[in-house]
Point group: C2
Chain length 159, copies 2
DNA sequence: GAATAATAGTAAGTCGGCTAATGTTTTCGT
DNA sequence: ACGAAAACATTAGCCGACTTACTATTATTC
């Protein structure tokens, strides 16, 4: 009774094509699981991506980070401000182009790089647990298609 | 150049099992599309679910709505407070059990019920565009499994 | 070279979502 | 019956995300 009355209500009702109703639920669960795994690191969900990116290629501008995350500039600005306040990153104005803020990991941030990679793999493992390799590929294929469906205008003219 | 440098960065890197990286991206895109479709109604994403539920079965308590949405109580409380302020719902204290707040649609809210159903179908149509019926079922199956993977403890002991 | 456009970042305000803490009212167990 | 436990709702505060301004800088273009 407790396992199927939940977003099941949504799912059960509209028989075909109910995949859409699952998306917000999965997103919440995925975020919650990520948050759980990140406990102890001091990071919040989403920030681990910044650690990962800057760990691999330091000194990126906020604009680059923004594009890489696929979010809007204010989202990045706020997150980085918090991460700076928490001591994970440092931001310095570029001397070449005084509009840009170059972001680098602090020692504290750098020390989390490896752990973040592990946790990320762990999250992926949990997410796709019980799915065969074939299922995983199938899932990726379908999700990519869904993502394309939901981001019109993001695709350039050709290709 | 613009289509593959985006969460593609995440996807391309970690070859197998990268489905997890797609989830937040899809969730954002799905929400954005929903927001777009809801334009003109005055509703924000998530609120349409309340309209839909209360339209089908009026006079539910916030706790019921909370369980149905699958979120935490404060989320529901805040959302309903906004929806009440916007004139979509009304909340009255139950006389039978004075702890509960019974929520009903106002005329304004009720007038959106049908439209919300249409928009919801439309969103589902957009989301699964280009997928065969078989693919849609496959996607649902995989997503349900992922949801189960990500919500441990949500499942009772048996079944 | 000066006016204009494009780019980088910030500020303010809104919303969905969460946790933790609090207050009320029922319900339950002894 | 009475005190403890459970259930309903709210408040406060945080984070990620978005839109809509707005500032500062660099590029363009006439």
């Amino acid at each position: 009774m407790a396992s199927s009355d939940w977003p099941g209500s949504l799912v059960a009702d509209r028989a075909p094509g109910s995949a859409g109703a699952l998306i917000p639920a999965i997103a919440r669960a995925h975020r919650a699981m990520g948050e759980r795994l990140l406990q102890g690191t001091g990071l919040r969900t989403g920030q681990e991506l910044v650690i990962s990116l800057l760990g691999d290629s330091p000194g990126r501008s906020q604009a680059e980070i923004t594009r890489w995350l696929g979010v809007e500039p204010p989202t990045t600005a706020k997150m980085l401000a918090r991460m700076e306040r928490a001591g994970f990153v440092e931001r310095v104005r570029s001397t070449e182009d005084r509009r840009v803020m170059l972001v680098t990991l602090t020692e504290k941030g750098r020390s989390l790089h490896h752990r973040v990679g592990e946790l990320w793999s762990e999250l992926n493992r949990i997410t796709t647990a019980g799915l065969s390799d074939k299922d995983q590929l199938e899932l990726e294929r379908l999700l990519l298609r869904v993502l394309e469906n939901l981001t019109p205008g993001d695709s350039p003219v050709l290709e």
